[in-house]
Amino acid sequence: MYTQALNQRDAAPAATPEDAAALARFQARIDADERIEPNDWMPAAYRRTLVRQISQHAHSEIIGMQPEGNWITRAPSLRRKAALLAKVQDEGGHGLYLYAAAETLGVSREELSAQLLSGAAKYSSIFNYPTLSWADIGAIGWLVDGAAIMNQIPLCRCSYGPYARAMIRVCKEESFHQRQGYELMLALSRGTAEQKAMAQDALNRWWWPCLMMFGPPDSESQHSDQSMRWGIKRFSNDALRQKFVDATVPQGHFLGLSFPDPALRYDAEAGHWRFGAIDWAEFRRVLAGDGPCNRQRLETRRRAEAEGAWVREAALAHAAKRRARAATPPLAAE
């Protein structure tokens, strides 16, 4: 997990005069649906936009390991325990490919990681909510991975080759996670009264934050026009959100669960599920750092980084010793 359309404006000076002809050639390649590769010329703003988006995505995968990791030691069956451990491992692997994709743009994993730890970099708002029951593990797989897929499938055709290729692999795994999460919810909703209540409570808590994963409404996010022209973004936030709601609501009803939205109704004419107003003040608050778990998530990451420092130093020291030994072989005894 998970990219989130945060629609930040590119902050760098816009007016570095780039060769107009080069820009036109670049745009023509994008318009012809060609992939841009690491050694190809690209506008500085394109590079910055991609670094920001890919690294936010990578950070989200890494931070996202925490809320789900919270239940690995308490998974209620060995099958579920193995599945959850494997899922969280997949998310770590997604973080790894994404950092590697970002590195092709000339920025190191260490720099990106430092931005996350300092609080300068953003990650998906969804991971600042707590996992309070086992059903949250099902809800995250079903809804959060489900929303991630909606956001990420179009990125498999992203104009930047390494990001597009990483997304193809990531999306395969996310859709497996989504099915697995839904199957977990199905087991709970067909289970005891307490299990069903757990599943309903999880849906109540995760539904609105999941709708926020698609980013601010189109009315507030004209800045994504440039990303559209560059073939980084293909659908608007609201279009993706609607697609997610349309796919997910019938799945929830099949579980026998209700959505925490009294305004939710089917618009037969348009063929869409219409939903109520999203609390954008909450979204902004969580992004600004005041979600229920923002401080805890960063604190945990900082602690792991700090506690691992001596291990990384030891690995480097050992590698240096080996190199030194290889460079100065002992004098051969005649």
Partner: protein, 257 residues
């Protein structure tokens, strides 16, 4: 469902000992999630945890079949109390720091690799099949953990000191791996179990080779060895591990997950 105390004829006991050791050690590795010193190790620890939990599942399923009471892998994992757990004490030792976790993994893997290699010839076809798979997995655990023992031992002064402290803490739990009791002696005679005492030379050779490369002195011979895990006499840590691991099925005993 309430707590299970199994009648433990030798074959059930033997399978449970193996199952409990692999589950408890796999659970310990899973406790690292989100805490590893680097992303690559996050993935490696999860890999090893998944291997061990997978071995445990197959072994519990086999124990349940041998027990013949219609129980499942989860009944055995989630509804036995600590005194019914038969794991090696080494497996239940806390993760400590990364040095302690990797050394624990190495001390176990250096035993488990030749152990499963020999068990692949078991007269029990199910155990032999489990062993053939586990042997491949343990070869990776052995390689990976040995590489870290070398890096940490021959790394910085701090990593060397931490590794030595871990060795001091863990060494007394290594003797139990080679113990044989009456229950297993009969199985060894039938070719179902193998004699772990016969694996000691191979284990000692691995330890000596890797410690030499890690510049880690071998502990003096004759140090007192703790024992009791195979008979349900554990340290204080296992109860906490099980309290966490078993909490949901015990709170909702009628639920299917």
């Amino acid at each position: 469902m309430t707590t299970i105390t199994l009648a433990e004829p030798p074959r059930v006991l033997h399978a449970l000992r193996l199952a409990d050791t692999t589950l408890v050690l796999g659970h310990r590795l899973s406790e690292w999630t989100g805490q590893a010193p680097m992303l690559e190790e996050e993935l490696a620890l999860a890999n090893m945890g998944l291997d061990l939990i997978g071995q445990a599942r197959a072994l519990y399923t086999h124990a349940a079949a041998l027990d013949g009471q219609g129980r499942t892998e989860d009944d055995l994992a989630y509804f036995r109390d600590a005194p019914q757990y038969r794991n090696l004490l080494l497996a239940e030792q806390p993760n400590g720091d990364f040095a302690q976790t990797m050394l624990r993994q190495f001390l176990y893997a250096a035993f488990a690799l030749p152990f499963w290699n020999a068990m692949a010839a078991s007269a029990d076809a199910v155990l032999a099949a489990i062993a053939a798979k586990a042997e491949k997995e343990m070869a990776y655990h052995q390689r990976h953990s040995a590489a870290w023992v070398v890096r940490l031992g021959d790394g910085t002064a701090e990593s060397h000191a931490r590794l030595r402290a871990a060795l001091d803490a863990l060494w007394p739990f290594t003797g139990e791996m080679f113990e044989v009791d009456e229950a297993e002696r009969g199985l060894i005679a039938q070719g179902i179990a193998i004699d772990p005492a016969a694996l000691r030379p191979a284990w000692e050779a691995s330890i000596a080779r890797v410690f030499a490369e890690a510049t880690l002195p071998l502990p003096a011979a004759g140090r007192w060895m703790q024992s009791g895990g195979h008979h349900g006499r554990h340290g204080e840590h296992l109860g906490h591990l099980l309290a966490v691991m078993q909490s949901l099925p015990r709170a909702y005993p009628d639920a299917r997950w």
